[in-house]
């Protein structure tokens, strides 16, 4: 018997998580990925350190700014942000979000300590002279004592440990939600990390265009960033394939749910095609840029476009996962409407987060010698 069903009355609920959540997941993923990118050049030794040092400068700047701004977006996603202290008075070991609320400040403190230690030699040198910048350097360098390399390495490793904690909790928090089959897959946390790496390398390449101090190092940074994008995209493609194949085994409803939505909803179809086109374009463009770079041709003038596209892929993945999936009604027919309002729960929230990040970036660029030796020489010379 074939029957067709019409649902006559359906309530239309608003989405419970705002675009703030996308901003948090985006910034925190860039933060931990940039932290990893900064490690070889900061705590590595010999040739390795030398090769990755220019990249590490930008990566440190990125990890610090994103780590500072991400929690603001997270706080804004709470409907009762002033009650955030309940997280600490009512800590709940059964909840991944509660575990995250413990990890996040520890991660933030360890990143602050790590970046501060890495920048401290430059800060100490910048104390010479009078004026605003030297006085800031005097305050921030906290005296003449020298931090040993072992301290820097230890703090970097502690920050890395917490970074893995952030990767784990942000992924698990979403993946355990059985009620949303699209989220309920073990491949999702891995995908968050690989696309986060794509976005972080993209941001490195983008900032490299305008903020890198040394002309000669910039082509190297681009090549390294492009390589990271290529590898991370390749792993993302493998993860996506594995996820798709897992749908056939019957262990996960995630794939079936995705196909169902793509079949039933034109927005989803468009998003799926967009994701595929953007991903393939990014991979091809990054490959072409890397090839040109390896042939000693300058890609400085256009590699930043690849960087922007990489940022788009990282952001759009999170938008799709966190926002579009919420439009799938769990009980009723059809889809809830995803309305991005102009106010702080919508567009202003998205723009505001990026604005805050830009402000943090510019303030650091103005007052802190994050570029190290090169910047100091330029200022004094």
């Amino acid at each position: 018997m074939n029957s067709s069903i019409i649902e006559i009355l359906t309530p239309r609920y608003e989405l419970a998580w705002y675009p703030w959540a996308v901003q948090y997941f985006f910034l925190i993923a860039i933060s931990y990925s940039a932290l990893l990118l900064s490690l070889p050049g900061t705590i590595g030794r010999g040739q390795l350190a030398q090769r990755w040092q220019p990249m590490a400068r930008l990566a440190l700047l990125i990890t610090l700014t994103c780590t500072l701004v991400a929690p603001v977006a997270l706080l804004a996603d709470l409907h009762q942000p002033m009650r955030f202290w309940h997280f600490y008075t009512n800590a709940t070991p059964t909840s991944w979000m509660s575990i995250g609320s413990i990890l996040l400040p520890l991660y933030l403190i360890s990143v602050l300590a790590y970046v501060w230690l890495a920048w401290r030699p430059a800060l100490q040198k910048a104390r010479a002279g009078s004026g605003f910048r030297p006085s800031i350097a005097k305050v921030l360098s906290f005296g003449d004592w020298q931090a040993s390399r072992a301290i820097l390495t230890t703090v970097a490793l502690v920050a890395t440990l917490f970074a893995f904690g952030i990767m784990l909790y942000t992924g698990a928090e979403i993946a355990i939600i059985k009620a949303r089959p699209l989220w309920h897959t073990n491949w999702l946390p891995i995908m968050f990390v690989t696309t986060g790496m794509v976005a972080a390398a993209g941001l490195v390449i983008l900032l490299n265009r305008w903020m890198s101090p040394e002309r000669e190092g910039r082509e190297d940074i681009n090549r390294q960033g492009l390589k990271v994008i290529l590898i991370a995209m390749l792993i993302s493609a493998l993860v996506a394939t594995a996820w798709f194949v897992s749908g056939f085994s019957g262990h996960s409803d995630s794939v079936a749910a995705a196909l169902q939505s793509i079949q039933a909803n034109s927005d989803w179809r468009l998003s799926a095609i967009w994701a595929l086109v953007a991903g393939v374009t990014l991979f091809v463009l990054a490959g072409l840029a890397l090839k040109a770079g390896n042939q000693a041709r300058s890609v400085l003038n256009w590699a930043w476009i690849v960087g922007l596209l990489a940022l788009h892929v990282g952001w759009a993945f999170r938008w799709m996962v966190l926002m579009e999936v919420q439009t799938v009604a769990k009980n009723t027919a059809g889809y809830y409407q995803l309305v991005v309002e102009l106010g702080s729960y919508g567009l202003m929230g998205i723009i505001g987060t990026f604005g805050l990040w830009l402000a943090a970036l510019l303030l650091i660029d103005l007052f802190i010698p994050w570029q190290g030796k090169a910047q100091l020489e330029a200022q004094h010379g």
């Binding site: 019409i6 309530p11 609920y13 709470l78 909840s95 059985k178 196909l259 027919a333």
Partner: protein
């Protein structure tokens, strides 16, 4: 691609088959708190441990009048557009004969024996009482909406007035005053039966015993062990039904969508 879809959708059908399996065994199960690994149920608190409230909805008696929806709305002061309970109404047509039938499906919180909304709460604001009712302490709730995501029944929402999570509580405040929940009180057909399932002489216990093999719960494959039982249920409606939404976009005379009142509240 089409083959792939069919193969995968077939897997889902297998999962939802055997849906009539009803988690009644859980009623007698005592819930003891074990050391809490992540995402396991925390200890229950408050409420009368000698009781286990449940609801039986006799769909044969439901006429879809929405009296429950309205009385709940008034009793619990939910903002416009949000519902602690609502009756889904479906029009089912037989494509070969052209016959029509209507299906009324009252929905509310299932007060699950294994509620997925509880362990995710990062501040222990939502918890299950010893009598099985899942409640929210909206003085503690931070409004993170994690529980809203975790509920497979869309039974929770963020209340725009309080900016905290809101849900059906079986009208716990009325039960404590020996009153029936608003929806049960106002039900024209007497379709909603609430009671203590640990008391063998309660009406709900008797009806469960009488109709045990016919009872069904929503989305049994989720493992939530819902404690709202449906009598006279059609298996096609256990999970999100494959249905076309109607009265979804309400349009005015010019074909322009009318703004929803609740958007501004």
């Amino acid at each position: 691609m089409d083959f792939a879809r069919r193969a995968i959708l077939g897997q889902i059908a297998k999962l939802t088959a055997g849906a009539a399996l009803v988690p009644l065994a859980s009623i007698t199960m005592s819930s003891s708190a074990v050391a809490s690994p992540i995402n396991s149920q925390p200890a229950r608190r408050e409420g009368d441990a000698s009781k286990r409230y449940g609801m039986l909805i006799d769909l044969r008696q439901c006429i879809g009048c929405q009296a429950c929806t309205v009385s709940c709305h008034i009793e619990n002061e939910a903002p416009l557009g949000n519902f602690r309970t609502i009756v889904s109404q479906y029009e089912v047509s037989n494509e070969s004969t052209g016959d029509f039938a209507t299906m009324m499906l009252p929905r509310l919180c299932n007060q699950c024996e294994n509620p997925p909304c509880v362990p995710v709460c990062p501040v222990q604001a939502t918890f299950q009482r010893k009598d099985g009712i899942v409640v929210v302490d909206n003085e503690a709730c931070v409004g993170c909406a994690y529980c809203v995501q975790a509920c497979p029944y869309d039974a929770r929402f963020i209340n725009k007035k309080t900016q905290t999570a809101d849900k059906c509580t079986f009208c716990a405040h009325r039960l404590e005053a020996n009153l029936l929940p608003a929806c049960v009180e106002s039900c024209v057909g007497g379709a909603r039966i609430i009671g203590d399932m640990r008391d063998p002489s309660s009406q709900i216990s008797k009806m469960i015993a009488q109709h045990r093999s016919e009872l069904m719960v929503l989305k049994p494959e989720q493992g939530t062990l819902p404690q709202v039982y449906y009598l006279g249920m059609d298996e096609r409606f256990l999970s999100r039904p494959q249905a076309e939404p109607a009265l979804w976009d309400v349009r005015d005379m010019d074909g322009k969508e009318i703004g929803y009142e609740f958007l501004d509240h």
